[in-house]
């Protein structure tokens, strides 16, 4: 199928399913939907001709007769019983999504008063004031075809609101379960609003529960107000038939502090679009990423730090290990706008290639229009340090084990940035398993997603 056929199919779907799409969605969402549809008409699904997608061909990803659910469809079985992330030491507020739809569960969340965790649909109706202030304000449907498509098709997702001065101690863990009886394209739209002086930690996990082919197109909009502290952990662990397209748009106000950590452990095709805009002075942002790819997996991290205001600090570090026929791409863009003086922006990308069939394409970019700045970027591609290997071998460590230790140490630099101790330990465990070629799931997990 050509790209035109794919785009036209979406246009037809939108026209024909219009009434289903509008049903149960707020008027505001539907207006945005209309606008986004017009944008998508112009943009379409990004192709290789789009410089930002130079290394990820989305045509074969979209070229499949997926089912698109325009209305919530009940999946067999009760997810609450079927899925339990039984990690006593990882004490989180667990929220389930099913194929991008908020899943009504019987768990009671341990969150302070005033904090809202609900479905996007519900938020659009019940909390329309907050919703309309933020929805569709940070994502860029006019620039990014995937965002336009998401906004045009979005019906549900998660909505999180943390009011002023409230600190949510217990992290909120959002688990999106892809589970279907047929090949499925899921559209998920999230909105997170962290008000002044508030603090919250958010963990996004994706899981595939059945063997079907999945395409997930997720957009998350996050606004972090003055003095707020926000942590976002994205853990991607799907089967090989899943394509995850994940776009995150973060807007930071003055003095806010954001940590974002993207951990891609497994998955057929992963594309992360990570946008941060500094819309106030003295913000700090740390974005980290780790990708461990083998077989014929593909991961593409695209990050964009937009320094619109002076005196902000951004720090970015992505590391990857590629084996077998895995391919990876990294694009890091730092834009310092004309008046954003005293900006400090750093960026690093390190890669280990384990096989001659593995490919890494990296593209760190600096676009700088202000003079009083400190900016740097670095990228490396290489293998394990022979001296380090020799050191370990000289101490009687088997070569394979020594390599494992070095790889683990390589990845650990990213893991240690996690600010939730229990999660850090859990990821350490998952990564070690992953590197040893074992199934990377928690020992206590009941789901057999990799079989």
């Amino acid at each position: 199928m050509s790209i035109d056929t794919i785009n036209n199919d979406f246009l037809d779907l939108f026209k024909q399913g219009k009434s289903l799409l509008d049903d149960k969605s707020s008027k505001f969402m539907n207006t945005k939907r209309e606008e986004a549809f017009e944008q998508f008409k112009k943009l379409g699904v990004p192709t290789l001709a789009n410089e930002n997608y130079k290394y990820t061909n989305l045509v074969p990803v979209f070229d499949h007769p997926y089912t698109v659910d325009l209305q919530y469809r009940t999946v067999m079985g009760d997810l609450n019983k079927l899925f339990y992330c039984d990690v006593p030491e990882l004490d989180t507020n667990l929220v389930l999504l099913s194929n991008g739809w908020y899943y009504n569960q019987n768990r009671k969340l341990d969150i302070p008063e005033g904090v809202i965790v609900c479905s996007l649909q519900e938020a659009a109706e019940k909390h329309s004031e907050i919703f309309e202030k933020h929805y569709g304000k940070y994502a860029k449907p006019n620039e990014e075809g995937l965002v336009a498509l998401n906004t045009a098709l979005a019906k549900d997702g998660i909505f999180i609101y943390v009011p002023k001065n409230v600190v949510v101690e217990k992290p909120i863990q959002v688990i999106n379960l892809l589970r279907s009886d047929r090949d499925l394209m899921a559209t998920q739209r999230n909105l997170v609003v962290v008000e002044e002086n508030a603090q919250v930690k958010l963990i996004f996990c994706d899981h595939t529960l059945t063997e079907h082919k999945y395409l997930s197109n997720t957009v998350s909009e996050i606004n972090v107000a003055k003095n707020a502290i926000f942590d976002l952990y994205t853990i991607q662990n799907q089967h090989l038939n899943a394509a995850i397209l994940n776009s995150v748009f973060i807007r930071q106000e003055a003095n806010s502090n954001v940590l974002s950590n993207i951990l891609s452990l497994y998955g057929g095709i992963i594309r992360n679009n990570h946008y941060t805009i500094f819309d106030g002075e003295h913000c700090e942002n740390n974005t980290y990423g780790m990708y461990l790819m083998d077989r014929n997996q593909h991961v593409d991290n695209f990050t964009f730090a937009d320094h619109a205001k002076p005196n902000c600090v951004s720090n970015e570090h992505f590391k990857g290990v590629m084996g077998d026929e895995a391919t990876a791409a990294f694009t890091g863009k730092i834009h310092v706008r004309r008046d954003a003086q005293k900006t400090e922006a750093y960026q690093r990308n390190n890669n280990l290639l384990l096989s001659n069939d593995a490919v890494i394409n990296t593209k760190p970019q600096l676009v700088i229009d202000a003079d009083d700045v400190k900016c740097s970027h670095g990228a490396t591609v290489g293998q394990m340090d022979d001296d380090a290997l020799f050191y370990l071998r000289a101490r009687g460590i088997h070569e394979e084990e020594a390599r494992m230790m070095l790889m683990f140490a390589f990845a650990h630099e990213i893991i240690e940035k996690i600010r939730i101790d229990a999660l850090k330990d859990r990821i350490d465990e998952l990564v070690e398993k992953r590197l040893r070629g074992k199934i990377s799931k928690c020992s206590t997990c009941a789901i057999a997603c990799h079989q």
């Binding site: 490919v359 990296t362 700088i368 229009d369 009083d372 700045v373 591609v381």
Partner: protein, 483 residues
């Protein structure tokens, strides 16, 4: 230091004039403006070219018609009307130059003013020069001395007449006319250029140099350089360019092809000082150049060194294809932009042969309202074992209205490759200035010192004569700037 004072010094420095902006009154043989197949046939017949040349030109032209002007560069270029350009202009001269006295005195005066020695007798520096004015080669010096060693150094037109076999064999072998928009345009209409052939085992005893000068109005300059180095040979080649000050933009689209065989070495240095336009960004040369060399033989070496200070728009990516095992390439660049100048420049290193090495050192300096971009590609193909690359791209910003951008691409398909890239962007530190001030060095001198030190790594790689000129150029445009 007070902000006003900084601005004042910055102004003084960045306002210094372009000293090569005069134009000479020389009779020019030019054709009507515009571009079509007849124009190409006319150029070809004027140059009395063999059939294969005309065919090459026409193929290129037909291909060019199918192409669109590339838009990916970080450049803001108004549309160019190719029908308003004169594609061929040559100074009128006598049939054949026998001695120095036959050269038009005006032309000699022009090059005297530019400091280019046409006169071999009075020559102090040991450099053979080929001079290209507008579209054609005016004079090549030291031709005979070189010929004794079997070295061919002549204008491209002469080479087409005297060595058609070599031209036919190598022309377009590195940069095909299908390569890009400007390569196709150049292949269709190029009028002259230089040709260098170094036979096996010969070490060229002197530096070879081409001096390009645009003089006539409304013309475009399209030249081609072809350098072929046989086994175990060496040559160092220099290129310099200037143009008069004019209010309209003039187009320059050149091609450079270099072929380096077993154990040979080529050094290619450029000081590009085309007229950059005035302070308001009016006029100036559009410089679109495709330069590429292939290290075909084992252990061959190719070095690019460039100082880019001129042109309103620079679009230039000298590249190396490292095909022979153990071949290596180095790229050293200083690009200075000021006022409304725009530069998008960098390199490509394509690693194909085993154990190939490349080094990229790029220093960008932006002032005024200019934009300066580094864009580069390092590619290691799948079967290339043991490739090594190191890239460093630094940008220095002088003033808060200019921009410095870096777009490196690293594509690695082999696990044994080691590829490193690093880039920094900064302004001159106040502590550095303070340190110099304390030791009695004025702010202006201190900046000159710092900028020179910053660019030293690149300038050191250039042949002596060029290094001096490059350093002077830097001093003119940058001394005294404070960020």
């Amino acid at each position: 230091m007070a902000k006003e004072e900084q601005d004042k010094i910055l102004d003084e420095v960045t306002q210094s004039d372009y000293k090569y902006g005069f134009s000479s009154d020389i009779d020019t043989d030019s054709i009507a403006k515009g571009l079509n197949e007849d124009v190409i046939r006319l150029i070809s017949s004027k140059k009395n070219e063999p059939e294969f040349m005309l065919e090459f030109r026409l193929n290129a032209y037909r291909h060019w018609l199918t192409l669109k002007m590339p838009e990916w560069a970080h450049l803001d270029i108004p549309p160019i009307d190719y029908q308003e350009i004169i594609f061929y202009a040559a100074p009128v001269q006598k049939a054949k130059l026998e001695s120095m006295d036959d050269v038009d005195p005006e032309i000699r005066a022009t090059f005297d003013k530019l400091g280019i020695p046409l006169d071999e007798q009075k020559l102090l520096s040991n450099v053979a020069v080929d001079v290209v004015m507008d579209s054609s080669s005016v004079k090549t010096t030291f031709k005979e001395v070189l010929a004794e060693k079997g070295i061919i150094f002549c204008s491209f037109s002469d080479a087409v007449q005297d060595h058609p076999d070599l031209i036919q064999k190598y022309m377009g072998s590195v940069v095909s006319y299908r390569d890009n928009f400007f390569a196709a345009l150049n292949s269709a209409v190029f009028s002259d250029g230089s040709f260098v052939y170094i036979p096996k085992g010969v070490r060229c005893p002197m530096e070879l140099s081409t001096y390009f000068r645009i003089n006539a109005e409304n013309t475009g300059q399209f030249e081609r350089t072809l350098i072929v180095c046989e086994d175990e040979s060496y040559v160092s080649y220099l290129e310099g360019c200037t143009a008069p000050m004019r209010d309209e933009n003039q187009l320059h689209a050149a091609i450079v092809e270099i072929i380096v065989k077993d154990n040979s070495e080529v050094k290619y240095s450029t000081v590009q000082n085309w007229y950059p336009g005035n302070k308001e960004g009016l006029g100036g040369i559009y410089n679109f150049v495709t330069k590429r060399g292939i290290c075909e033989g084992v252990n061959s070496k190719l070095m690019w060194a460039q100082v880019e200070t001129g042109s309103a728009v620079t679009w230039k990516y000298p590249s190396s294809i490292l095909k022979g095992d153990g071949s290596s390439s180095e790229f050293y660049s200083v690009a200075v932009t000021n006022h409304h100048q725009q530069a998008d420049t960098g390199t490509k290193m394509i690693h194909i042969g085993n154990n190939t090495k490349s080094t990229i050192i790029s220093k960008g300096i932006s002032a005024g309202k200019s934009n300066n971009s580094y864009r580069g590609l390092v590619k290691v193909v799948k079967n290339c074992e043991g490739a090594r690359n190191f890239s460093q791209c630094d940008s220095l910003l002088l003033g808060d209205k200019c921009g410095a951008h870096t777009y490196p691409y690293l594509e690695v398909h082999n696990k044994s490759a080691k590829v490193e890239h690093e880039a920094t962007t900064s302004k001159i530190g106040e502590d550095q200035i303070f340190y110099c001030n304390q030791r009695g060095i004025s702010t202006e001198d201190a900046i000159g010192l710092i900028v020179n030190g910053y660019a030293k790594e690149v300038i050191n790689k250039m042949p002596m004569e060029f290094a001096v000129e490059a350093q002077k150029l830097l001093a003119i445009s940058l001394e005294g700037s404070v960020g």
